[in-house]
Symmetry: C2
Subunit: 168 residues, 2 copies
Amino acid sequence: MDGVTVAENTDAERAALLRFVERFALVLRESGMQPMPARVFAYALADDADRYTAAELADGLQVSPAAISGAVRQLVQIGFLVREREPGTRSDLYVLDDGQLWTRFVTAELQALRRFEDVVAAGIEQLGADRPGGRRLVETQEFFAFLGEVLADAVTRWPEERERRRLG
Amino acid sequence: MDGVTVAENTDAERAALLRFVERFALVLRESGMQPMPARVFAYALADDADRYTAAELADGLQVSPAAISGAVRQLVQIGFLVREREPGTRSDLYVLDDGQLWTRFVTAELQALRRFEDVVAAGIEQLGADRPGGRRLVETQEFFAFLGEVLADAVTRWPEERERRRLG
DNA sequence: AATGAGCTTCACACATTCGTGAAACCTCTG
DNA sequence: CAGAGGTTTCACGAATGTGTGAAGCTCATT
């Protein structure tokens, strides 16, 4: 696979890739992701390998190994990357598992939603529901619950939708 | 309504409110909102008034009027707050319109999704779809399209869902 | 056990972001 | 048209966040 990676990387294509990575990462940052994890994710998504060592990521993104270390830890924790180890080798491999990639994304969103629900529930308990602001909080709670259901439903439907779109 | 506002605000309740505002704002920040807009939104949501002057917001949140100015501008632009003016008064009034509050939230999310789609589409055009990374980008594009449809559908269903939850 | 490649941790310098205070600017009242 | 209440703009100081370099650590190989 190294042969392929090298073959595609004319300077121009490499530069175009990095420009895209930077643009995509910027949008991800606007949604709350940190700069370095956003870049690593965008890079792993858009480049052609299906597994990356930390060194390859550092090299490809032109950043220090230290920066990669922190970024992949977070991405692994969220579930965007899976850490693997080939027996008899010293370097970790990071792979973004194609099949479940975007279901994992929604799952992460769902966890964020859960945090919303928790905070709002605590607020209602603390501040009371029987006043104008309290009623708004209750409605907020109900909305987040609804949105959670909608997203959970979307996750289960995505695999078949994905197939349909691939064919249609 | 001023009477009500003052009446509820024992020091303890006021402090509890501000604690909640800070917690809620923190979660909003993690989703990409800026600190001050997040606080203002949380405060306007959780406190009991249904309209706030900039001075009231500054006072309630213990921050400078300058900070409010920037925050409300953004919130108005997103659609979370509506700016009003009572005839014969010198101060603007900011109201979060209860009815459409959370549909506006999803609408904002949809605009963010749109930005994703645009960036990814440009990336595909620039980098090509006929390679491993390109295929992932195409799938990404399709996923965002799907998610957009799901959210748009959720927005239209929320009003009736809201009623159902209120009664059930 | 010793070696060395590779990953991680830590302290630091740089950059960015945030909220304030003061002054300018409207806009309604008298 | 003068005056004042209220909002906005601007430059600044403080705080926060970000990525790097160097040292430390882990683990497969010899």
